[in-house]
Structure formats: structure tokens, C-alpha cells
């Protein structure tokens, strides 16, 4: 049951874990998306309310460790008021910095949060407005790819061990 590395969190992470901002399903969200998988032990759901290509509200849900909850919460704070293009440009390093730092083995929490956000933005353009702005890359971004890889990896492990997910 022992872990590999001690997980020291910043005061900011502990604060957001205790009092997460923008928590909960948004009933009137313009778009929502999920990243991660229960089998991996982390899932982030991002809800965005979008008006005139600007995120006017955002909320999250998180199944995961304290850092995961904090990363999901802070990214919803970061995107509020931003245009979709501005939100797209947020990197996982930005999220990490905003949290005051993360233990290196927890970087994937920021990556997952950014992956979830980018998925939501891509979904918005693909499924809601059905157009593709030129700043939006056709190929998956690094964070979207990593979220996908994590989701697929666990399925491969499941198959390997003959477990039905």
C-alpha cells in the first residue's frame, strides 16, 4: 500500500481541495466533456457556458486525488471570462503554476484538466456550432492525446488481465 513518492501539496491545492470553486454539474452548460477513467483513478468533467465565443461560466466535477480536484477547480477559475481561443492556449504548465506547483508525479492532473478543457472546446465547435476556427488545430493537442492514451491504456490492461471494465 505504500506509495513511491511523498505527495506534498501547496497551500493553494489544499485550499482548493477543502473549498473547491465552481464545483458541480452545470445544468445549463453550453458544452461539457470528460477526461480520464474510473479505472485509472481519475476523471475530470468540465462544464462551460459560452456566449459570443467567450466562456462566461465554468464548473467541474472530479473523481481523483486532492491534486486532481484542485487542478479541475482552478482551471474553471482560469477560463472564466476568457475567449475560447484564450482558453485553448492555457497549458498544463500554466495550471501547475497557478496551483503553486505540483509534485512531478502529479503533473498528469494538470494535463488531464487541460485535456478536459480542450475536449470541451473542440466538442463545442464540432458538435454545437459546427465550424472550425483556424486557430484550432485539426490534430489532437498534446493534452487531449495524453488523456486519450490514459483512457486506452487502462482498457488494454483490463483486456490483458481478462477483466471486463
Amino acid at each position: 500500500m505504500s506509495t513511491r513518492t511523498p505527495l506534498i501539496y501547496t497551500p493553494k491545492i489544499l485550499d482548493l481541495f477543502r473549498n473547491p470553486k465552481n464545483l458541480g454539474k452545470m445544468e445549463d452548460a453550453t458544452v461539457s466533456s470528460q477526461a480520464g477513467s474510473p479505472a485509472c483513478g481519475d476523471v475530470i468533467t468540465i462544464y462551460l457556458k459560452i456566449e459570443d465565443s467567450r466562456i462566461i461560466d465554468a464548473s467541474f466535477e472530479s473523481y481523483g486525488c486532492a491534486a486532481n480536484i484542485a487542478a479541475a477547480s482552478i482551471i474553471t477559475e482560469m477560463v472564466k471570462g476568457k475567449t475560447l481561443k484564450e482558453a485553448w492556449d492555457i497549458t498544463w504548465e500554466d495550471v501547475t503554476n497557478e496551483l503553486g506547483g505540483l509534485p512531478s508525479i502529479k503533473y498528469h492532473c494538470s494535463i488531464l484538466a487541460v485535456g478536459g478543457l480542450k475536449r470541451a472546446i473542440r466538442k463545442y465547435f464540432q458538435e454545437i456550432v459546427k465550424m472550425h476556427p483556424d486557430w484550432l488545430p485539426k490534430d489532437l493537442s498534446k493534452e487531449e492525446r495524453q488523456a486519450l492514451e490514459e483512457e486506452e491504456l487502462i482498457e488494454r490492461i483490463y483486456r490483458k488481465y481478462g477483466v471486463v471494465p
Binding site: 500500500m1 505504500s2 506509495t3 513511491r4 513518492t5 511523498p6 505527495l7 506534498i8 501539496y9 501547496t10 497551500p11 489544499l14 485550499d15 481541495f17 477543502r18 473547491p20 464545483l23 458541480g24 454539474k25 470528460q34 474510473p38 479505472a39 485509472c40 483513478g41 481519475d42 476523471v43 468533467t45 466535477e61 472530479s62 473523481y63 481523483g64 486525488c65 486532492a66 486532481n68 480536484i69 503553486g100 506547483g101 505540483l102 509534485p103 508525479i105 502529479k106 498528469h108 490514459e150 491504456l153 487502462i154 490492461i157 483490463y158 488481465y161 477483466v163 471494465p165
Partner: protein
Amino acid sequence: MVKVSEFLKQHGKPSREVYLDHENSGWVPPEVVEAMLPYFNQRGYGHPSITNLPGWEAYEVVESTLEKVNKTINARGGELVITHNGTEANNLAIIGTALGSGRERRKIITSAIEHVSILFPARSLEEYGYRVVTIPVDKEGFVDPDMLSMLIDYETLMVSIQMVNHEIGTIQNIKTLVETVKDKDDRIIFHTDAVDAYGRIKIDVEELGVDLMTLSSHKIHGPRGVGVLYVREGVRLKPIMHGALSTQKMWPGVENIPAIAGFNKAIDLTFTNFDDNVKKMKMLRDMLMDGILNNVPEVLLNGPRGDKRAPDNVNISFLHVEGESITVELSLRGVYVSSGSACTSRVLEPSHVILAIGRRYEEAHGSILFKVSRYHNKEDIEYVLSQVPPAIERLRIISPLARESREAVKKVVEV
């Protein structure tokens, strides 16, 4: 990264604290610390093999402690090797047996729920031509003697099966397993990791017939720094560490005398009123277990119930929440536990023990291990029971999986 001290300030010291992480380590009662103190600088601070007074005083500690250990496991004859913890004793048992063998037998059999200090040393031998066979366990963690019997062949060097599982508390029937092995071939070495059995169930190495057995001081409220490997007379080991031998031949380096003196005292405390201590642990265990199972929805008990479960072990999977966040949430509430979640280790692999009893990954991620001790009282458990339900509830409010489950239930009810 941030300094721990800053984090600790932010965390704060809860007004009430109950430590239940005795699996990973724990605190040492004042009487044990008291027993250690003279050996830092009053007496016995020398090397137990050196012919001067502080050396002889040190040897007295070693001698009397080993005598005491022998008594508590009913060992008549055989050798006790002092290491620094159970991990080292397990490494010596596995690798030392391989090195000490003639190398004709190259199959090592262990169970799927052994501690990693058995599994990893065994796997490390694969590079040198050994084959490690891992017996699966049933839903409660038990090894099937018939399956064990089937796996034994002329190639089998050793079998290592723990006495009590550290995570789910399964008490194996070691006597039957030893007989199964020895009936087929009595030259096969039987090792049992009794780290989580010592002080919790009666152990009699003569009756059980084991060849090697591991103990660890900090698992019975002794200090860290002492492990013991019991080695039956005639069992051939080779040391895996090399240096200046001391009072014993299998682990080099000067003995940690204050720690051994503390272990000695911890043995006294553990085995005086042994039955009462065990009864108390069982009472607290059941109080905690039932309290959670009855008051928190969507939970699963991991491991067996009743007499085949270790008296101190409660292991519960909380569905739709992840274990690391539970440990943090409970820590803020002064309840200290650990989890079988993989989330902290970034290996994508949660507890192999929880998976081995057929739990799904997400069930393992939500598993929490509580270990009660004879030093707890009912009020401690009441406090824990007052904190666990709201802690889980709060995390479930955050979790999309918990919401989806609620919505699914609601739908079913509405239909």
C-alpha cells in the same frame, strides 16, 4: 516544489486524532521508548561483539530479546537473524534461500497477495533463471491447498505464503499449507511472512512446521529498525549482504541496540494479556467495520469476516471516490488511514491484493485500510465513525461518478 513545513502549516493539527495507519507504520508507546533510552548513552551503547563492558551490555540486550522472541513463537532451536525490518528479512528469506541452494531447484511459489517485499525479491531472481509461480487466491484471499499441491514439482525450491495478509486481513491456514508441501516433498523450504500475524494470532513454529518466518518490530508497536528472520536448524541460507559479521552470521553490521531493547519491551507489552488484547482489537474492529458498512452507502468490505480475519483489520472500498483524496480528507479531520489507490504512485496499478480478490480497478482505487490497535478505545472508533460518513459524502459531491450513480438509481426508482 513547496516545502513540507509550509504544507504542514496549512494542514494544521486537528483537535482530535486517531491513527489507523498501522499497516504502514505507527507510533511507539512511552514504555517502549523508556526501555530504549538507557541504551543510547547509559549502558550497552557499545558493539555486542566487542569484549568491553558496553559491548557485553549490548550483547545482553540481543541475547534476552532473542530468547523472548523464541518463547513467543515457541522456537526450540533454530536461529533468529536480526535485520532492520521485515523487508530485509523477507529479502533474505527469498534470495538467501536461492543463493544457499544447489541451484537445481528453480521454482519459487508464492501467493498473489504477498507483500511486495516477497514478490519483488522473488521476481528479481527471474533474471537468474528462477521461475516464480503466483497462486491465485479466492474472493476472501485464501490459498487453496489442492491448487498448491498441484503446483509443486521436483523443481520447487521454496514456497512463501504469508500468515496474515496485511491489507485484507486474511488468516491463511499455514499448518495445512505446510503439510501439503511437505507431504509432497519435504526438502521444499516453507517460508511464511508473519509480519502481520505476530501479536495478533498465536504462532507456534514447531506445530506449524515452517522453515523460515519473518517478523517486524514496528508492526507490534515496537520501534522501527528491527526485523527478524527465524531460520529452522538445517535450513541453508547464504547472506545477501556482506560486511563485518556481528553476533549472528546472516546480516552484517552492528546491531541497533536501543531499537532491539524497544522491540524487547514491545514483545512484553504485546504478549502480556495477549488474549485480552486480541479480544479488544476484535471488538474495536467489528465496531468500526459495522459502523461504516451500516452508515455509508455503496461500500464493499474487502477480505473475510469473523475468525478468519485479522483482529485489527478493516478494509473497505468506497465506490465512486478515489482513495488518496479520502486519506487527505480524513487527515484534515484527524483520522489517519491509507489507501490501495494507485493515484499516488502513478503506476496505474492499484493494490495488487485488492485486485487479486477479484475487485475492479475503481473498487481498488477507493479502498481504505484501517488498522485498529489495542491502544485505541471505543471513543476513538466513535470519533472515526463520526468523521468517515461526512468525509465520503463530501467527496461524492465532487465526484461525477457518484452523481451518475445517484442519477441512475433515481431513474430506476422513477421508472
